[in-house]
Symmetry: C2
Subunit: 455 residues, 2 copies
């Protein structure tokens, strides 16, 4: 294999490519493209206009086109697939790994998908039909059918022969799996051991029977959990009867980790299903508007709350000056607690057995921070309004507000988790708005009580 | 190797273990512990009290103790190391992989670290001294010294012999690397190829010269970037002269990915260096207070801004009812833009060549969302105050506020990135507070101008 110069994307390269396309210089372009790795080519393609993307795609060999296509960001991939000929897509799909092929077909409009499946080479369409029924976010939805397995009674020599037959098909091969006559997964052997033991050694004598696998219907979060916990490099997938049915590789696992983080971060950002690489104004608006509208609804309740305290505000208008700081303190301390708990639940750093303890810790933290902030703010407001009694009332209010939002911030994600709702939702508008409303209620309620009593 | 029953942590197991410790039944405990995988044992230990943790640690063999220790969450690990005898630590460190050993020593108080290094077996202390100088968040800081390399003129048979010698030391071996006589990395061979080609084949004839490596001083973010982009399972580390000096394995890469995400999420949460598994109230308070105090400072500026518009508020007190919704709209739309841009910059989904375009997209989104929200809020406020002219003014204010925070939200992370400041800081208090202040200023400024003109 010839060394590919690690041609990575930069302004010059972009310019050169655009110029070559404009000049319709297929030869020079083919040469340049040939020197690039698929991932870099994908990068390049993402930076081009649609007609330039299609132009480059047409000069790629099907195998390379496939490798490039799977590396391209989903929004751009979708746009490309829309305009590629069915013929081209067929050639590409036949070159892809089974999991990538199934993903690609899954993303197509149903009619086009059916057309492609029914025209594909039979072995390929059979694999895709096998994978399509699995939900996208399950082990079955991310597994590939490319793996090497042998019977436990085989010898190392037999295993190497199996491997030789599958060598082209199965990339990134680090382990072979051992099955019994019913196809049930019973062990794992590393390629290192295949190299070091004599060829007539029985597999069953050198295999590790403690092989960690995942059920085909398990959520992809479970896959990530197992991989991270046991430092796996790939994980075999089994059906309900323990039979080996697929393999999930390290790169797909990293993709899932990123995907899960993207999802949590989307909730934190208050967006719904926004692809980060999305460029369509309307799609992004659609992802972001729902939260903003919830915000308007929720904060109009805040407005109602405030309006109930009109008398106090008429007496001391300056009370309204401090709405922002009151809201910010409640909001920030609440989201600090919520985001840490959500992340901890996602990574497993916060144990499901210690949830009560976690809320308790957050309450203690809230008490300390509430006191510090309350005293600071009480002093400022007391001085500002030349009324230290009122300052003391604010101090008490801040302590209660921070305690309240610390409780909501840590407890709500935990309750959501128990109810099987995504805890990350607790970092979103519902909780934030609830904190705002309750915070203003505590502040204005206490101050009003004080004013009534002081009068 | 005997199969370990996959004994995972649950309430029953916890109870059993606690009871056995109380009864001082070392034998039963040793048996139970022996049936668990290191990662599960680490889980178990995290759930115990400190004296119970030490009790279990004392019954583990040094090798197992090491495997368990590296799986334990940092806050618990630190507490354990504090109370383990130097003798025990020495035994453990000698069993660890070089990178884990260096990490462990790095976390110890300097005096104790020096004591341990000077007492360790010489080959181990030499390795640690080699790794310690590298900064923790660089390739050198996460690499291990366990890898297998051969000269390009070697045969496969030679390579297997090298591998045999290092087999015990190097776990998770999937590739061997090829170096020239100067030790420079020139290629890579997969174990699959070692198995499939005849033993007298020259390595240089089957190696892939397109081997992706990372410089020992590169930031760990660069490591993650390369691994994700090129779907690597491990990555060789080279010095400035291109000489192979270490290896970063897949499990360490996943750890770094998690660490980088943790860091970004911490900034989003507004906490500084908070370990998610941290349980000390004071440490958590210390991580969270700074933001809260910045909040107070910033929002007191908001208070000053509001106080400048006292006359308008005295005229229409109800204007203050809508501070929360004004702030929430600015804050939410700003953080939506900021968090997506920060995440996109972190994953590379947002290209450094399209930053101007990114800001432009966010401005268009802000215009659409600002119009929708502005019209909604304008109608509500117009109806509430029976003043649709004022409602129209609010509509205009909301459009400007959402535009402003969309601009700040997308531009500030990008500017930070260009200035080599962590863009995630832009999701923090500075930007949020700036949005609050500017939002209130726009709202009250426009309304006041209108009131003056209307009067």
């Amino acid at each position: 294999m010839a060394a590919k110069a690690p041609k990575m994307i930069n302004e010059d390269l972009l310019e050169t490519v655009k110029r070559l396309i404009e000049k319709d210089d297929k030869e020079a372009l083919a040469k340049l493209v040939d020197e690039m790795r698929p991932a870099d080519l994908a990068d390049l393609i993402e930076h081009l206009d649609q007609h330039e993307r299609l132009y480059i795609f047409k000069i790629l060999e099907p195998e390379e086109a496939g490798e490039v296509l799977v590396e391209i960001e989903p929004p751009v991939q979708d746009k490309l697939l829309e305009e590629l000929d069915t013929e081209d897509i067929l050639e590409i799909v036949e070159e892809l790994d089974s999991d990538d092929a199934a993903d690609l077909v899954r993303d197509l409009p149903p009619e086009r998908a059916e057309e492609i499946i029914s025209t594909l080479r039979e072995d390929v369409s059979e694999e895709i039909r096998k994978l399509l029924p699995y939900k996208e976010d399950t082990a079955g939805g991310i597994m590939g059918l490319e793996f090497v397995s042998v019977l436990d009674e085989a010898t190392i020599g037999d295993a190497i022969e199996v491997l030789r037959k599958k060598a082209d098909e199965v990339e990134n091969l680090y382990h072979i799996w051992v099955v019994d006559r019913q196809g049930r997964l019973v062990g794992v052997v590393s390629l290192k051991d295949l190299l070091l033991y004599p060829r007539d050694q029985r597999i069953r004598d050198i295999m590790n029977p403690d092989v960690i696998s995942v059920n085909v219907n398990a959520d992809q979060e479970e896959v990530v959990h197992l991989v991270k916990k046991y430092d796996l490099v790939n994980i075999p997938v089994v059906d309900d009867k323990g039979r080996l049915v697929g393999r999930i590789t390290h790169d797909d696992i990293i993709d899932v980790i990123e995907e899960e983080v993207d999802e949590d971060i989307s909730y934190m950002a208050g967006v719904i299903d926004e692809e980060i690489a999305e460029e369509s104004t309307l799609k992004i608006s659609k992802a972001r508007l729902p939260w903003l509208i919830v915000c308007i609804g929720g904060e109009l309740i805040s407005a109602l709350v405030i309006s109930r305290f009109e008398t106090s505000l008429q007496k001391i208008l300056a009370l309204s000056f401090f709405f922002p700081v009151i809201m910010a303190l409640g909001g920030s301390s609440g989201s600090q607690a919520a985001i840490i708990v959500v992340r901890g639940l996602a990574t497993g750093d916060i144990s499901m057995f210690k949830l009560g303890k976690r809320v308790w810790i957050d309450l203690k933290v809230a008490l300390v921070n509430g006191l510090v902030c309350g005293i600071m703010l009480g002093l400022v407001i007391g001085t500002w309004l030349s009324n230290y009694e009122l300052g003391l009332v604010v101090t008490i209010a801040v302590v209660l507000i921070v305690l309240n939002s610390g409780l909501i911030g840590s407890a709500v994600p935990i309750i959501f988790k128990k109810l099987n709702i995504d805890p990350a939702l607790a970092t979103g508008p519902l909780v934030t708005t609830a904190n705002d409303i309750l915070g203003l209620l505590i502040y204005l309620g206490l101050v009003t009580t004080y004013l009534r009593y002081a009068a």
